[in-house]
């Protein structure tokens, strides 16, 4: 998400940046382009208007026109205004109440409430060591409760909720959490239209019954101009405390993100970034603004690396290399798996500065099939073969290809690349491990040509 909006803006700014002197006309022209870019990104029209007024005022201030690089200064103004529009900093969940802290999920049909509830449960359980209860009060959509029950099992938290009285289920869920001394109850509600008075009454009653400390509005990042209307209506009915923006792994330009915050004044707390239950990221307005303007989001990447890379394993490999021992297929596989856990190559590329400048056809070819295929090939090797790749000759190659559903050529290619990689690792003795691998990525990671064959 956001990248296409960024592309549009960058085109506009490329021209501005280079100019030594800016006239009011230059700025107005650029701002017209910005207006177009924002509207094409589905930013709500009233928000676009007030945003441009803000930028114009600041951009015409003397500091910009007199600065040595006025173009750069305008870009900075837009960046700052974008940050302001999205909320200045990340707002985390506030769960500091006498337990159980109740989190209520609300939103339109199909926004992704149920999936987000499960992702949130996992995040609280894993990162904050909370004891979480998931409960669905969606008594309307067929199998909605079953969906959350299954997801609860998947993320390893308790589930509560059955029957056809939403209000009673919500009340009982909180009581259940209290008696079982749980920290957090996440209540997933049925999707509803904000103009459906009866359904809005229902969720108000649930809200009053369970007094949530966090009421999160789940919004689809692909929504259009109407997103602000529904957000506003939900905010009036429930006093939202925050917003979760879902499906940001598509190519929606994220206009809803900029609008909802501005219209409701409620912070965007999380982004849903994929179908996997781990795909939930804290929302950092400054970083996203940088991503929009093509400055990359290295901080998030660094955090992800820190959180997801198994330090012990990385150190083991490094130690092994230091001792002069060979880098084998088992080590390689571990590194590939760690990379996958960080959202794969595509997920990482998105956050690196300058990468948004890659042409689309190149970006589209970056997918993680190769990684998975490579892991499959390694899985088809015996333990001995992984330690001593030199063993792998003709018939073994055929067996490995058959076992992993690939061609002998694929196995050959992997072996060849692996040999090169071993050589490289020897040279990089001591500095080994993932950091080195990541450094190599620009030139093409061995084993996985990032841009296809």
């Amino acid at each position: 998400m956001f990248s296409q909006l960024g592309d549009r803006l960058k085109e506009t700014f490329r021209d501005l940046r280079g100019r030594g002197r800016l006239s009011e006309d230059n700025i107005s022209q650029a701002l017209r382009e910005v207006r177009l870019a924002l509207l094409e990104a589905d930013v709500a029209l009233p928000v676009v208007k007030s945003f441009l007024e803000g930028v114009q005022q600041r951009a015409l201030g003397e500091k910009v026109l007199d600065s040595l690089t006025p173009g750069q200064a305008v870009v900075k103004v837009v960046h700052d205004e974008l940050v302001e529009l999205m909320g200045a900093r990340n707002d985390a969940l506030n769960l500091a109440v006498r337990p159980p802290a109740v989190v209520l999920m609300a939103g339109l049909q199909g926004a992704g409430k149920t999936t987000t509830a499960a992702k949130l449960a996992l995040l609280l359980k894993d990162r904050e060591n909370k004891n979480v209860l998931l409960s669905s009060v969606d008594v309307y959509r067929p199998a909605a409760m079953e969906q959350l029950r299954k997801l609860a099992e998947e993320v390893g938290v308790a589930y509560f909720g059955d029957g056809d009285d939403a209000l009673a289920i919500a009340r009982d869920a909180v009581a259940h959490a209290t008696t079982h001394v749980m920290d957090v109850v996440i209540i997933d509600t049925a999707g509803r239209l904000h103009v459906d008075d009866e359904m809005m009454m229902e969720i108000s009653r649930i809200y009053n019954e369970v007094s949530p400390v966090e009421t999160l509005f789940v919004a689809d990042s692909m929504s259009g101009q109407d997103a602000v209307n529904s957000a506003r209506a939900f905010d009036q009915a429930l006093e939202l405390t925050g917003v979760v923006l879902t499906k940001t792994d598509g190519d929606a330009r994220g206009g809803a993100a900029l609008s909802i915050r501005e219209v409701t004044g409620k912070p965007i707390k999380f982004l849903g970034t994929g179908e996997n239950v781990e795909a939930l990221e804290a929302f950092h307005p400054d970083r996203v603004a940088s991503r929009i303007l093509g400055m990359g989001d290295v901080l998030t990447l660094v955090e992800e690396v820190e959180r997801k890379v198994d330090r012990k394993q990385a150190e083991q490999i490094a130690a092994k290399l230091k001792k002069g021992k060979g880098f084998d297929f088992e080590d390689f596989k571990n590194q590939l798996i760690q990379m996958e856990q960080m959202g794969g190559l595509a997920g990482m590329l998105d956050k690196l500065p300058g990468m948004t400048d890659l042409p689309d056809h190149v970006k589209n070819r970056v997918n993680d099939r190769e990684t998975r295929r490579t892991i499959a090939i390694i899985n088809s090797m015996t333990a001995r073969e992984r330690l001593f790749p030199a063993l792998i000759k003709g018939s073994r190659r055929r067996r490995i290809a058959g076992g992993s559903g690939s061609q002998v050529q694929d196995v050959n290619r992997l072996l060849k690349q692996f040999t090169q990689m071993q050589k490289m690792m020897k040279k990089a003795k001591g500095k080994g491990g993932l950091a080195k691998m990541m450094g190599q990525m620009k030139g093409g990671t061995p084993g996985m040509p990032p841009f296809g064959r």
Binding site: L45, G110, A143, K150, S223, G250
Partner: protein, 312 residues
């Protein structure tokens, strides 16, 4: 239910949509304010953008209206409204086509539902199943969303309510294998219409799009002409991203028509105008509620009336 009731129902449901845009337009061209100046046209453009028609189409429509206003001396609100109405109908009318079961079709007639996550594919599949059983056709559902938790159960509940058989395997099964199974048993039981529900996927995810193509290849082993219809489900609240969705799904699995869901909210669904203009695909159905009866053939006149009011 008699026809007129249905039409009224749709009108009533779309009333809120209409009221807001019509109110805005009448504010612009109310009696006495006959001056159609630049600001008035600019505001009209803004209103179209607010209805999700998108910058490109809105600008184009405003330009057309401007030209016509000069040449045909459009001065009043009614006149302008009627020109706007004609322009919108001109864009939408070619997309009005019914989805009829072809009498001469090889059986079963295979309809595949595709779309991004959360647009309402499963519910629409159930509504479609109901639509065809109402025509005394023998219908079967294939639960090929094997990814989302309880998606299979959701379709099975619908199957029970509608007395339509649902072919399914366990969660995590290969969707293509389930589709193959479903077509196999549809052929064996001489079913007329097989509706295949697929997992929601982001159109930029090349891997998941490839899986959809694989599903098609696998069912083509049983019937070279299948799938006969590939319906893309689009949420009416979607903004300009709908264009990217249609483009990508069409390029990868050959979309034959659209179903637009959740048109009972306040989202204007104006992106339909942009979709009709750009892709000329049939818009077969619109969804206007959660019950199985809330599926209506797309009616351009009613849609435009809902969008801009009845004047003209």
């Amino acid at each position: 239910m008699p026809e007129s009731d249905e039409t009224r129902g749709l009108f009533a449901r779309l009333k809120k949509t209409r009221e807001s845009l019509a109110a805005n337009l009448s504010g612009l061209f109310g009696p006495g304010s006959a001056v159609l100046d630049d600001a008035a046209f600019e505001d009209l453009g803004d209103q179209l953008i607010l209805a999700d028609l998108g910058v490109e189409v809105s600008t184009q429509i405003v330009a057309t209206l401007r030209r016509q206003a000069v040449s045909t001396r459009v001065e009043t609100k009614e006149q302008l409204n009627s020109v706007l109405r004609m322009k919108l109908l001109e864009i939408l009318q070619p997309s009005v086509r019914p989805l009829d079961f072809p009498a001469a079709s090889a059986k079963p007639w295979v309809v595949v539902m595709v779309g991004v996550n959360g647009v309402g594919k499963t519910t629409t599949a159930a509504k479609l199943a109901h639509w065809f059983t109402q025509q005394d056709l023998k219908v079967m559902l294939g639960a090929c969303d094997t990814y989302r938790a309880a998606a299979i159960e959701q379709l099975q509940v619908w199957g029970q309510r509608l007395a339509v058989p649902v072919i399914a395997q366990q969660r995590g099964a290969d969707a293509a294998a389930v589709a193959h199974d479903a077509l196999n048993s549809a052929q064996a039981r001489s079913v007329d219409v097989l509706i295949i529900d697929s997992a929601g996927r982001q159109h930029v995810n090349t891997e998941l799009m490839e899986q959809l193509r694989k599903m098609n290849r696998v069912i083509q082993r049983l019937d070279g002409s299948a799938p006969h219809e590939t319906l893309l489900v689009v949420d009416a609240a979607t903004g300009q991203n709908a264009l990217a969705q249609v483009g990508a799904f069409a390029a990868s699995v050959g979309v034959t028509g659209l179903c637009v869901t959740k048109l009972d909210g306040t989202a204007r669904g104006g992106v339909l105008v942009a979709l009709a203009q750009k892709f000329q695909l049939p818009i077969y159905f619109v969804g206007v509620g959660e019950s199985v009866n809330d599926l209506r053939p797309f009616d351009a006149e009613a849609f435009v009336t809902a969008l801009i009011g009845e004047g003209g």
